[in-house]
């Protein structure tokens, strides 16, 4: 009997199998008490459903709008934000490598000028110093000769052609050039007109136009040195005007406080190159983000 009672609710709900349902039906026929219990269960179920809350439905339109999808700004798409984050991580990872590379690239132009023993106004301005990485050998000899400085165009022609980005070669060039300039400085301090005192350099100065013509073929810098007028055209009148001989080269003390200035230019070069050189990283990532956004919206 107890087993039958436990199955009465399932019998009312129609959840019993056919065999068990037949057994319960037979028990109900023979037992009026079980029959009254079944009637009570049915009435109780009906009352429970009757008092069920039937709340007014709200928010159906909002649900439809959410499912249909509002037109989001493509820049707010998750893929754009995600790809931007990836790009930022890539840049952060690439930054130390690039900083080292950029430090190799940055020229020690101020030291070069100090080595020549001539101090010019333009040396202390960032304009000349910034232009140094692209063509240091072009500007330095031209300025020095235009202002009567002890620097021969030959020295510039002897310097190897260095591409920007070849840090090691550039470092070697700077060392060679600085050492040679110091030698000339010590000899040329006795020169009356501030010309190059080295006999080798002096002798070769005479055929400098010829060497200038040969320079591009022989690997030297493509400097077209034909005289003061040409130098002034190349450098410009302002540079010539700014370049002044501050005194005998031997008496000019070296400038020890160049390091902060150099580090500033290293940082500046880093920042500029960061934006310009590394910016192509963003392009494929951004395009990938746009593609995924388009694909999502299409879906």
């Amino acid at each position: 009997m107890s087993d039958i009672r436990e199955d009465l609710k399932a019998f009312v709900d129609g959840e019993l199998g056919p065999a068990r349902a037949s057994e319960v039906e037979a028990a109900l026929e023979s037992n009026p008490e079980l029959k009254r219990e079944v009637e009570f269960l049915r009435a109780l179920s009906a009352e429970i459903r009757h008092i069920a809350s039937d709340a007014e439905v709200k928010g159906a339109q909002d649900a439809l709008a959410r499912v249909k999808g509002r037109r989001r700004s493509i820049l707010l798409d998750g893929w754009i934000l995600g790809s931007t984050g990836v790009a930022a991580i890539l840049l952060v990872v690439a930054n130390p490598l690039f900083s080292r590379e950029s430090a190799d690239q940055s020229p020690n132009l101020a030291a070069e000028y100090a080595d020549t023993g001539v101090q010019t106004k333009s040396q202390s301005t960032p304009v000349v110093t910034e232009s140094a990485p692209s063509e240091p050998a072009t500007a330095s000899p031209a300025e020095s000769e235009g202002a009567g400085r002890p620097m021969a165009p030959k020295d510039a022609l002897d310097m190897p052609a260095v591409q920007q980005g070849d840090g090691f070669a550039r470092q070697q060039m700077n060392e060679q050039w600085s050492g040679r300039s110091l030698q000339k400085q010590s000899r040329g301090s006795d020169s009356a007109e501030g010309q190059v005192a080295s006999p080798r350099a002096k002798g070769k100065d005479e055929d400098s136009p010829e060497r200038s013509a040969r320079a591009p073929q022989s690997g030297g810098l493509p400097l077209d040195v034909k005289g003061d007028a040409a130098q002034k055209r190349r450098v410009g009148p302002s540079a010539t005007k700014n370049a002044e001989v501050s005194g005998p080269p031997a008496s000019v003390p070296p400038k020890p406080a160049q390091e902060p200035q150099n580090s500033f230019y290293v940082a500046l070069g880093n920042a500029v190159s960061f934006l310009v050189v590394r910016s192509p990283i963003w392009v494929p990532i951004f395009l990938f983000g746009l593609f995924m956004s388009w694909r999502n919206r299409r879906a």
Binding site: E6, K9, A10, D13, E15, F40, L41, A43, L44, S45, E47, I48, R49, H50, I51, A52, S53, D54, A55, E56, V57, K58, G59, A60, D62, A63, L64, R66, V67, K68, G69, A299
Partner: protein, 172 residues
């Protein structure tokens, strides 16, 4: 599987919108009975947003409404957890005035409502799913994640307790 569901699974937003229009009232009431009308709107909308993302995984073994109720059940539970509350099902039954003909009712409805609130949450949950949402034992078991026998047992004990509570009310 329903053609509408297949289209929605392919990303057809119009087909999904039709599913929402058809099932939103039932899902909303399902949520309202669990966590109240204040939160039911959020829970119901979350349900369909989740369903839209997951409809590709709907294999058609159960009815779509059962599948949606399962999502709604979890959405209500998560929402209640965020509000540091529980699914009490206190909102499942309203306090209606007694009908004009009290003799027509076998059970005092106010007493029944009190008796329902005395049930344990598990028993109340089974009663709501089967009696109010009109789910089969198997569907209720799927939503609750329990065996069918457990649902059957919970319903038997729930009705036995209701009968006892109502008998106490009558004798009191």
């Amino acid at each position: 599987m329903d053609a509408q569901v297949e289209q929605a699974a392919r990303g057809n937003r119009d087909a999904m919108a039709k599913i929402v229009a058809e099932h939103y009232p039932a899902v909303y009431r399902f949520c309202a009975r669990r966590i109240g009308v204040e939160l039911a709107q959020d829970a119901a909308q979350d349900t369909f947003v989740i369903a839209q993302k997951a409809i590709r995984r709907f294999d058609g073994r159960s009815k779509l409404s059962t599948w949606l109720f399962g999502i709604a059940h979890n959405a209500c539970r998560n929402l209640a957890r965020k509000r540091r509350s529980e699914m009490t099902y206190e909102h499942a039954w309203t306090l209606e005035p007694q009908s004009a003909n009290p003799e027509a009712c076998l059970v005092d409805r106010e007493a029944l409502r009190k008796a329902l609130l005395k049930l344990s949450p598990e028993h109340r949950e089974a009663v709501v799913l089967h009696e109010l949402e009109e789910l089969t034992y198997e569907e209720a078991a799927t939503i609750l994640g329990v065996p069918v026998g457990t649902v059957k047992s919970r319903l038997f004990h729930a009705f036995a307790q209701l009968r006892r509570y109502l008998g106490e009310e009558v004798t009191a």
